[in-house]
C-alpha cells in the first residue's frame, strides 16, 4: 500500500509531528508531576514516540512515499519542506538511535533528577534532526538546525554538578554559536547572490548565471562550515572530543550518531539540490568546486581523527576522535560527486548514507557500552576497562562487535558499509580517496583493538566489581550489536534503498 494515496499530503511529515508531540507530551508529564521521577514512564514515552516515528518512516519508505514510484518528492508549505526517500531514510537513522539512547537512559539517569527535561530535550533534538532531513529552504535548514543544536547544548551540560559535563557543554555551545553565526552569514551571502532561500530556486537562479562567483563561493564555504560543525569535520571539529568526552555517555552516543547524521542529511540535500556541481563549477568565469572542498576535508578529517585517536588513554575520548574519523569517511559521499558522474553520484551518496545507518548502530552501541561502564563506576581509561569481559561477557562481546565493526573488519556491518563506500568512491574515479580511507581504517584497527585487548586480555589491576545489571542499557546494547551483525547479511535492502533515494536527488 502506498500510504499517501489515502492520506493527506501533510501527513508525510508525520514522523516529525509524532516526535514533536512526544516532546510536548513529555513536557506535559513533567509539568503535571514535576517532583516525582517516574523514570519508566518518561523513558517509555520517549522510546515509544521514537519507535512510532521510526515505524512510520519505515512504513513510508517501504511504501515508496515521496519516491519515484509514487510520483516523486512531496513538497510542502511553499517548498519549505520536502519529504522524499532520503529524508525518510535519515529519519530512520535518527529515530533508531534515539530509541536506543532513550532506552539506555532509563538506567543511566536512574539516580538523576530532572529526567523530564532530559527526555524532552532528546526528543526535541530528534525532531529538529528529522526536520533537517526534510528542510528544503535555507531558512528551514537554519531554524531546524538550531532546534537540533540548542537542546544538544543543554544535554551535554546536563550533569550540572559535573565539571566535565559543564566544560563540554560550554565548548560545544561556544563553537556551536560561532558556527551558527558563520552559517547564517553564509546564508546571507547566498541570499545576496540569488535572492532566494528555497533550495531549488537557488539552483534555478544560479543556473541562469551570475557574475558573483566570489560572494557565492564565500557563502557556500560558510554554509559548508555550518555543516562541518554539525558533522564534526575539520576545521569545525574542535568541540567534538571534549563534548563527547564530557557529556553523559548516552548524549555522546546521540550526538555522535544522530546529530552527525543530521548534519550529513542536510548537507547532502543542500549541496546537491541548491548548488548542483555542474552549475556552480561554471559560474561567472570561476568555479565553486565544493566537491574538491569536501575531498580535502574528508582526507584531513579522517586522518586527524584516526591519528589523534591512536594515542588516547581515555576510551570515551578515543571514540570521540574515531567519530571525527568516521565523519571523514562519510564526507566521501559528497567529495566523490562529479559533474558527469551520472548514476555513480547517487551510488556514492547512497553508500555514504548506508554507512551512516550502520554507523548509527555500531557507534551508538559503543557509546552506550561506555555509559554502562560509567554506570558501573569503573572509570574511562583503557586501564579501567581491563578484564571487564570476565565479569560481563555479553556486554563485552557486544562491545567487541562494535569495535571491530567500526574498524571495518568482517564479518560485521561496518565492513560491508565501508566497502560499499570505498567501492563507490572508486567507481566515481576517486580511488585515492578510497585508498586514504582504507589506510586510515587499517590504522584505526590499532586503537579499536586496544579496547578489545583491555576487556578480554588484560588482567584488572584491582578487583573488579560490577554493581548492577542495567536492563535498559543491556537491551539497547544488544539491540545495537545484533543490528551491527545482521547488517552484514542484510545489507542488500539497505544499500539498495539508500542508493535509490540518493539517486533521486540528482
Amino acid at each position: 500500500m502506498t500510504p499517501l494515496q489515502t492520506l493527506p499530503e501533510w501527513a508525510a511529515t508525520a514522523p516529525a509531528i509524532v516526535l514533536a508531540l512526544t516532546g510536548l507530551a513529555l513536557l506535559l508529564i513533567d509539568t503535571i508531576d514535576p517532583d516525582s521521577t517516574n523514570n519508566g514512564l518518561l523513558a517509555g514515552t520517549a522510546t515509544l514516540g521514537a519507535l512510532a516515528a521510526g515505524g512510520i518512516a519505515a512504513w513510508f519508505l517501504i511504501g515508496g512515499t515521496g519516491m519515484e514510484s509514487t510520483g516523486g518528492a512531496i513538497s510542502l508549505y511553499g517548498d519549505a519542506l520536502v519529504v522524499d526517500g532520503m529524508s525518510l531514510f535519515f529519519t530512520l537513522i535518527f529515530t533508531s538511535v534515539t530509541a536506543m539512547v532513550t532506552v539506555a537512559s532509563y538506567d543511566y539517569l536512574a539516580d538523576e533528577e530532572y529526567q523530564g527535561e532530559f527526555y524532552s530535550l532528546v526528543i526535541f533534538a530528534a525532531t529538529g534532526m528529522t526536520l533537517m532531513g526534510m528542510a528544503n529552504s535555507l531558512a528551514t535548514v537554519f531554524v531546524s538546525l538550531e532546534l537540533a543544536s540548542l537542546p544538544s547544548y543543554a544535554l551535554v551540560a546536563f550533569l550540572k554538578k559535573d565539571r566535565g559535563s559543564i566544560e563540554a557543554g560550554l565548548k560545544y555551545f561556544l563553537i556551536g554559536a560561532l558556527s551558527s553565526a558563520v552559517f547564517a552569514f553564509g546564508i546571507s551571502l547566498v541570499f545576496a547572490v540569488t535572492g532566494s532561500l528555497v533550495l531549488p530556486e537557488v539552483a534555478a537562479t544560479l543556473a541562469e548565471g551570475t557574475e558573483l562567483v566570489g560572494v557565492l563561493g564565500l557563502g557556500v564555504l560558510m554554509i559548508a562550515g555550518g555543516f562541518a560543525f554539525k558533522t564534526a569535520s575539520v576545521p569545525f571539529h574542535f568541540w567534538a572530543p571534549e563534548a563527547y568526552e564530557g557529556a553523559p555517555a548516552p548524549v555522546s552516543a546521540f550526538l555522535s550518531s544522530a546529530s552527525k547524521a543530521a548534519g550529513f542529511a542536510v548537507a547532502f540535500r543542500v549541496f546537491t539540490v541548491a548548488f548542483p556541481l555542474e552549475t556552480v563549477t561554471a559560474v561567472g568565469g570561476g568555479s565553486v568546486d565544493w566537491s574538491l572542498l569536501f575531498a580535502l576535508l574528508a582526507v584531513v578529517t579522517m586522518t586527524l581523527g584516526n591519528f589523534a585517536a591512536a594515542t588516547q588513554e581515555n576510551v570515551k575520548r578515543m571514540l570521540a576522535y574515531s567519530s571525527i574519523g568516521h565523519a571523514g569517511y562519510a564526507l566521501i559521499g559528497l567529495a566523490a560527486i562529479t559533474v558527469d558522474g551520472g548514476a555513480a553520484n547517487g551510488d556514492v551518496l547512497g553508500a555514504s548514507m548506508a554507512h551512516l545507518l550502520v554507523y548509527g548502530f555500531m557507534n551508538t552501541g559503543a557509546f552506550l557500552f561506555i555509559a554502562m561502564v560509567e554506570k558501573w563506576g569503573l572509570g574511562r581509561t583503557f586501564e579501567d576497562y581491563n578484564g571487564i569481559a570476565s565479569k560481563a561477557p555479553i556486554a563485552a562481546t557486544a562491545m567487541t562487535v562494535f569495535m571491530f565493526s567500526l574498524a571495518g573488519l568482517p564479518p560485521f556491518g561496518g565492513f560491508v558499509s565501508k566497502y560499499a563506500l570505498f567501492y563507490s568512491a572508486i567507481e566515481s574515479g576517486f580511488w585515492w580517496l578510497a585508498a586514504f580511507g582504507a589506510v586510515n581504517s587499517a590504522l584505526s584497527l590499532f586503537y579499536y583493538s586496544r579496547v578489545v585487548k583491555a576487556m578480554w586480555i588484560e588482567e584488572p589491576s584491582k578487583p573488579l566489581e560490577i554493581g548492577s545489571q542495567p536492563v535498559g542499557l543491556y537491551v539497547a546494547i544488544i539491540f545495537a550489536a545484533v543490528g551491527t551483525v545482521l547488517l552484514l547479511p542484510g545489507f542488500q535492502p539497505v544499500i539498495e534503498t539508500a542508493q535509490t533515494v540518493a539517486a533521486a536527488l540528482f
Binding site: D347, S390, F404, L409, P410, P411, F415, V416, Y419, A420, Y423, S424, I426, E427, G429, W431, A434, A435, A438, V439, S441, A442, L445, F446, S449, R450, V452, K453, W456, I457, E458, L488, P489, F491, Q492, I495, E496
Partner: protein, 509 residues
Amino acid sequence: MIIEALIAVTFLAALVTFVLPDRYAGKAAFALSLAPVIGSLYMWQQYDASGNALLGGNIAFETDVVWLQLGQYDLHWMVGVDGISMPLVVLTTILTTLAIVSAWTPIAERQSQFFGLMLLMEANLLGVFTALDFFVWFVFWEAVLVPMYFLIGVWGGPRRKYAAIKFFVYTNIASLVMFIGFISLVFGLGDSITSLRLPEIAQALQAGQLGSFAGLSAGALASVAFIAMFFGFAVKVPVAPLHTWLPDAHVEAPTPVSVMLAGVLLKMGTYALLRFNFTMLPETARAFALPIALLAVASVIYGALLALAQQDLKRIVAYSSVSSMGYVILGLIAYTTYGVGGATFQMVAHGLISGLMFMAVGVIYNTTHTRMVSDMSGIADRMPVTAGIFVAGAFGYMGLPLMAGFAAEFFIFKGAFESTVMEAMPLFTGAAMFGIVIVAGYLLFAMQRTLFGPFRFDGDYDVTEAPFHDVAPLAVLLLLTIVLGVSPDIFFTMIQDAVNPILELGGAF
C-alpha cells in the same frame, strides 16, 4: 549445500561450546569437532571435481546465489571446492580436532571460550578455503583473524599482548593492501565482469579484458595489482622480510594455537597466492619470476639461518616455517606440474608436520614449563615416547623420504629445476635446496641438546611421560605424515588435476 552445512555445523559447534561450562568444554569441543571431520571426509569421498575451479573446471559442491547487488558488481554467495581446496579442507578439520585435544592439558582457564574460538576459527577457515566469491572469501579471510587475536592475546605467554596486536594489525594492513590491489584489478576489468566471483574474474583476465584504470595501462595495472596482492599475501605466508610477526606470535601463542597458526593459517597466504596472483595474473608472475624466486630463496635460507640462532624451541620451529614456506613460493613460481602441485602438496604436508612439531614442543613444555634449549637436556630419558615422536617429526621436517615433507619438497625441487620461467631457475633451486642442510643442522643441534645426553633439568617440575591424550594427537599426525609420504597420490593426483590448467595460461593481454 554440504559446504554450507559444514560451515554452519562448525559455527554451531562453536556457539554450543561457548555456553558450556568450562569443565566440559574441552571434551565437548572434541566431540563436536568430529562432525566437520566426518563432513570433510564425506566430501572427499563424494568429491567429483575436475580441473581448476577458477578456470572453468568442474567445481564440486558448488553453490552460487546472489547476495548483494552493489553498484556494477554483484556479490554472490559462491562456494565450492576443487583439487586445490579439497585437501586443505580436510587438513583444516583434522588439524583442528587434534589441536583441540592437544589443548586439554595446557588450557586451564576460560576453556569454553578457548574451545569456542578454536571452532569459530575452524568455521572461518573452511570458509576461506571454499569461498569462490571474492567478497565472501574476504569476509572469511578477515574473520579468521579475530579468533586468532583472542587466542593469542588471552591464552598466550608473557608478551602475548604485544604479539597479538602485532599479528592483528600487521596482517590486517597486509589484507588491506591486497584488497586495494584486487579491487583495482576488478575496476580495470570494467564491464567485462558482472560480479566478484573469482572464476568470472580469472576467466575475464585470461580473456584479456583488463583495461586501464586510475591512469595505469593494463600492463601497469596488472603489475601494481600483482605487487599489492603479493605483498598482502606474503605477509600472511610469511615471506622474508615480512615475517617478523610470526616468531612473536608463535612464541606467545599457546601450543594448540601455534598448531593452527602454522598448520593452517599460513596456508591461507600461499593458497591465496596460488588462487590470485599465480592463477589470475600468470603473465605478470612470469615477468616477476626473478624477484619472486629471489624472495623464495631468501625466505628459505634466511629463515633457516635465523632458526639456527634461536634458543627457544618454538622460535626454532617458527623460523623454520618461514623457511618451509619459502619452498612453496619457489614451487609456485616454477609453473610446472610438479612445481605448483608440489607447492600445494607442501601446504598440506607442512600443515601436518609443523603441527606435529609445535605439538611436540608443547607436550614437552607442558611438563617442563620451559622451551629454552639451555634449560634442559636428556629429556628422552624421562619422556621416551614423546621424544621418539619428536625425533620422527623432526626428521619429517628435514625431509626424510617416505614422509610427507620429502614428497612435497622433492616435487617442488623437481618442478622448479625444470621450470622454464627463466634461465637461472636451476641455480635458484639449487640455492633454495641448501635449506635442507641447514634445517638438519638446527633441528639436530636442538634435539641433541634437549632430548639427548645425561638428564638435566633446571626447574622444579617433575619430568615424566605425557598423558595419553597429549601423545595421541602427535601419533595421529605422525601416522598421517607417513601415509602421505608413502602415498602422496592420495592428494597429489587431484592437486595436479586442478593445477595443470594454470600452467597452460599464457599471454592474456
